[in-house]
Amino acid sequence: MPGTSPPSPLEPNRVVPLSTFLNLTFTGLVVGAIYGLFALGYTLVYGVLRLINFAHSEVFMWGSFAAVWMMTLLNARAGSGGPAAVLYLLLALLAAMAVSGAVALLVERVAYRRLREKKSPPLVALISAIGASFMLSEIMGLRDRIAGWLNLDGVLGDYVRPARENTQFVNPLPNATLLDVGGFQVRSTQLIVLVAALAMMIALEQFVRRSRLGRGVRAVSQDAEAAALMGVDQKRVVQLTFLLGGLMAGAAALLYLMHIGVTRYNVGFILGIKAFTAAVLGGIGNIRGALLGGLVLGLAENYGSQLFGSAWKDVVSFLLLVVVLLFRPTGLLGESLGKARA
């Protein structure tokens, strides 16, 4: 757009104060941790099946609605606090993880299993994934009409309307300032989101690395045929992989809602692209790579926004992706789920 005055790097305000830099770093890590958690679903499935599960974005979206509905069901009030608030959030977390896990298994069953059994070419699975993604998103976006057909409109009023608008997540936990040093602020919600996301990822990594089931996942990822010969049930492993990715997406959805506050039937679309980018950036198929990619992406977005204006943040992050892939085509930490010892 010529002749306009967008915020440009040439503006005088260019020297960034330390407190702003720290704020950008911290909030970037918070968002990045959510990306990382979300990205695990892409990475795990790719690691095992060499397939990009594009329906994963809708797995996340369904989890976010489960959390919102749980709060509506519990009649939670914003910022009410107390032990009840913690309990409510835990219930919302369970709901989100359960629904996301279930949707992920459903996607595996409906969109992939038969194709895999028939040894279809990968492109067919890709189309199937896009179709599943589209279906799941539109079912959510048209839920008011579906409720209307079933004559449940009156009963489900708050849950289905407005179907295509932002739906608010009521966070019962008050948001306090924990630290304020010369403009650098740490807010309680941000800290909870960051810590919880990191804890979930470490737990998953340990599970894949140490448990018997996790060993199966790694075995199939390294060599599916050899694993089958050794008695690993491949179907079970694939299901487990989808389930784990779904559970993590559900957790990511709750943390996203705590951080952003609203969801929508198409919320998974852009976030899914971001999380997928994080997975590729870190090395798709690699669990630690997803975390690292997420954090790097979150930081790049924030720094890019500050330097060039918020409209440029996606340009900056994708440029970063391209540059990283030029020098390390398999991402920052390399591709393999098995070889990198998860």
Binding site: T4, P6, I130, F134, G183, Q185, R187, N302, S310
Partner: protein, 391 residues
């Protein structure tokens, strides 16, 4: 490549599906009982169009207008049994890239004599030239970008003041009434949001501390919030629509910037309950909106009561303007202007009292009577604050 595929497919498919759905609901509810017409004063099957977002992220504004138009059509049909008019809905989702197809569709349907809309400025820039070429009159109740009236489109009219009035009014409200001196101006890069924000920037002059631009659909504004804090701004003006405005306000308040420290001021595109939903009631409190629209409860006559009875909610942003715009077209049809050509001439010469103002247009299609109002969020409701005097 993968992401391009991912992008293009659902968008295209969603667009198809949404358009289809919008059409079905419209058809089933809007069709007046046929056969009521007994006389001769107008040909059968005539209709007027509504063009704007009925689905999509900014749909609330479109639905407000559509209900106003629908009310006008229903009242007309009840009064004038001899001349029944139908309402055709063109659901653009507020997206300029949907506008070409829909505008062409409207132009091709010879029964459509006039259109209320397009609702937003971006889609207007695409659709209005198509209307102008076909001589199809379009009265917008809400598109406020000033340059729309400068394009030489003979068929362009609007029933509210443009952003050349709103921009200065917003700036004077921020620096005068609110007494703020360091204003951070953000826009969403849309035709409307950027256009308005640029006018506010120009009028703020030295009181503007910094610019920023965000994207439609963006949900994480932490970098913007960090920058607002860094500049020490005491007010933020956001030019754009309610979905992004609400999230930005929420994230500012979440980051500890209270409304006493940093006022949040936005525009008519953000003045909707969807703003309160996105921000949450606590963060929305105290937000100011400017709008060249009359507070709905100040509309003349029984409009407020009739609207509330018909739709179960009080009229909201642009409902009254939509009602007025539709009535201009319906008056023309009742008056015997039953061709596009005649109706265009009729609208040019129109001079009647509407529910919002005396409705008459200058040769560019701008209204002669203009007022800008400030609104405030109080207790989760958007209420009228005061009329902003022209500076």
């Amino acid at each position: 490549m993968r992401s391009i595929v991912k992008l293009a497919t659902p968008v295209a498919a969603a667009a198809l599906l949404l358009t289809a759905c919008g059409g079905t609901t419209g058809g089933s509810t809007e069709e007046p009982s046929a056969g009521a017409s007994s006389g001769s004063s107008c040909p059968e099957g005539l209709s007027i169009g509504f063009f704007g977002a009925l689905t999509g992220p900014d749909a609330n504004l479109g639905v407000n207008i559509r209900n106003g138009v629908d009310l006008a059509v229903t009242q007309h049909n009840a009064q004038d049994g001899a001349c029944q008019v139908a309402l055709e809905e063109y659901d653009s989702q507020g997206l300029p890239d949907q506008a070409t197809g829909l505008a062409t569709q409207a132009v091709r349907d010879e029964n459509v004599l006039g259109v209320v809309g397009p609702a937003f400025s971006g889609e207007s820039r695409v659709a209005d030239p198509i209307f102008a070429e076909a001589g199809l009159v379009g009265i917008t109740p809400s598109a406020t970008n000033p340059s729309l009236a400068e394009q030489g489109w003979e068929t362009f009219f609007r029933v509210l003041g443009n952003d050349a009035t709103q921009g200065p009014a917003a700036a004077s409200y921020i620096t005068g009434t609110l007494g703020k001196q360091k204003v951070y101006v953000v826009d969403d890069a849309s035709e409307y949001g950027k256009g308005l924000a640029d006018l506010v920037r120009a009028d703020l002059g030295a009181a503007k501390v910094k610019d920023n631009t965000v994207q439609k659909g963006q949900t994480d504004f932490s970098a913007v919030v960090a920058d607002i804090r860094a500049t020490g701004a005491d007010a933020v003006f956001f030019g754009g629509y309610y979905a992004e405005a609400g999230l930005l306000a929420k994230q500012m308040r979440d980051a500890g910037l209270t409304s006493e420290q940093v006022a949040f001021v936005s525009d008519d595109g953000a003045k909707d309950n969807g703003f309160v939903t996105a921000a949450g009631q606590a963060a929305a409190e105290g937000t100011v909106f400017t709008c060249p629209c009359l507070p709905p409860d100040q509309a003349e006559g029984t409009f407020v009561q009739d609207y509330t009875d018909a739709y179960g909610t009080a009229p909201a942003t642009y409902s009254a303007e939509g009602f007025d715009a539709a009535n201009i077209l319906l008056d023309g049809i009742a008056d015997g202007s039953t061709t596009r050509e005649d109706l265009l001439e009729f609208v040019k010469g129109y001079d009647e009292a509407g529910v919002t103002k005396q409705l008459t247009f200058d040769d560019k299609g701008e209204p002669s009577e203009i007022s800008v109002w400030a609104y405030k969020v109080e207790g989760g409701q958007i209420v009228a604050d005061q009329e902003i005097p022209a500076s």
